[in-house]
């Protein structure tokens, strides 16, 4: 029995109502259930068949748990990817040289012109944030919806801000010109790695969205 567009939409709505909030998680679940239902050769009504397939997949109860598992698991994947991207920045000579150069330029400016430290730090902090803001607006315009990939893409994009917030507040004021270039370089590495993770998530989501 081949399911209609309305029946497939019903399954998607059911999963959404039962707690699977992210459409990119539901895609695979919907296809799994529909495939199982269409694979059934007997004569039975849609409701009974749907319940049977939910039971077969162990999704007849506790879908909230699957929802939590899905974002926990996606987080694990993106966290690993973020760490890998940070490692790539250190490992790959082109990135390493780039970040060392950034550090040296920052250090040279702050030692030569201490009064520029605040402005320079503000600019370095603000530049990735500006890119992030643009990306948030772009994702809103593209109507990407509630996507687990985009959520974690943004989370790891902003991870540098979260992580560097504390050290910046507790830096010894007298040695700011020494510490700030180090903290800012680490911040930029984390933000750059986060941006690459976000781009991966965006590419993945857009690929799916275009087909919907």
């Amino acid at each position: 029995m081949e399911l209609t567009k309305e029946q497939i939409q019903y399954i998607d709505n059911y999963l959404k109502d039962k707690g699977i909030k992210y459409w990119d998680v539901r895609i695979e679940m919907v296809d799994h259930l529909v495939s199982d239902m269409e694979n059934y050769s007997g004569l039975v009504d849609f409701e009974t068949l749907f319940k049977r397939s939910l039971k077969n997949a162990n999704w007849d109860s506790n879908l909230e748990f699957i929802h939590i598992q899905s974002w926990k698991h996606t987080n694990k994947i993106y966290r690993k990817m973020h760490f890998q991207e940070i490692w790539n920045c250190i490992k790959q000579p082109k990135y390493l040289i780039g970040f060392i150069m950034l550090y040296l330029v920052f250090y040279w400016i702050t030692t030569r012109f201490p009064e520029a430290l605040k402005l320079l730090s503000f600019l370095v902090l603000g530049f990735p944030m500006l890119i992030m803001l643009i990306e948030i607006v772009r994702s809103l315009v593209k109507k990407l919806g509630k996507s687990v990939n985009i959520q974690y893409g943004f989370f790891y994009f902003s991870f540098g801000i979260i992580m560097m917030n504390l050290p910046i507040q507790f830096l010894p004021k007298a040695y700011l010109h020494i510490w700030m270039p180090i903290v800012m370089t680490i911040y930029l590495i984390m933000m750059f790695a986060g941006y690459k993770v976000y781009r991966f998530a965006l590419k993945k989501v857009l690929k799916m969205k275009v087909l919907m």
């Binding site: 081949e2 895609i27 529909v34 495939s35 598992q69 087909l211």
Partner: protein, 110 residues
């Protein structure tokens, strides 16, 4: 999954092996294929299959292709170049493991 503790460690190898033989497959297809090959002995649960597929994808061993099929989207998984190499390694590892277990459990057959 029957005898889940024994099979759990081999799930990734099972997925990689199937994808090596079938070019590209989707989640439901994998569960059905395993059921058919093992004559219903091994039933991969959805709760184990999808996290494993996503993990292999994140490790760069699998590539995903999303295709529209009859009013819905379907995620097809296929091996990447690294995935193909890793499949050979994993299968060799598994063969070694079976050989070792055979020697321990049934020395006459080993």
């Amino acid at each position: 999954m029957r005898n889940s503790k024994l099979y759990k460690g081999s799930l990734n190898t099972i997925i990689l092996k199937l994808l090596k033989e079938h070019d590209k497959m989707y989640g439901y297809e994998i569960t059905q294929k395993v059921k058919t090959i093992t004559k219903g002995e091994l039933n991969i649960t959805e709760g184990a299959l999808y996290p494993a597929l996503h993990k292999l994808e994140a490790e760069g061993l699998l590539d995903v292709e999303v295709v529209k099929v009859d009013n819905r989207l379907r995620k097809y998984y296929k091996l990447t170049e690294t995935g193909s190499k890793e499949t050979v390694n994993k299968l060799n590892e598994l063969a070694e493991y079976i050989k070792t277990m055979q020697a321990l459990v049934n020395p006459k057959l080993a």
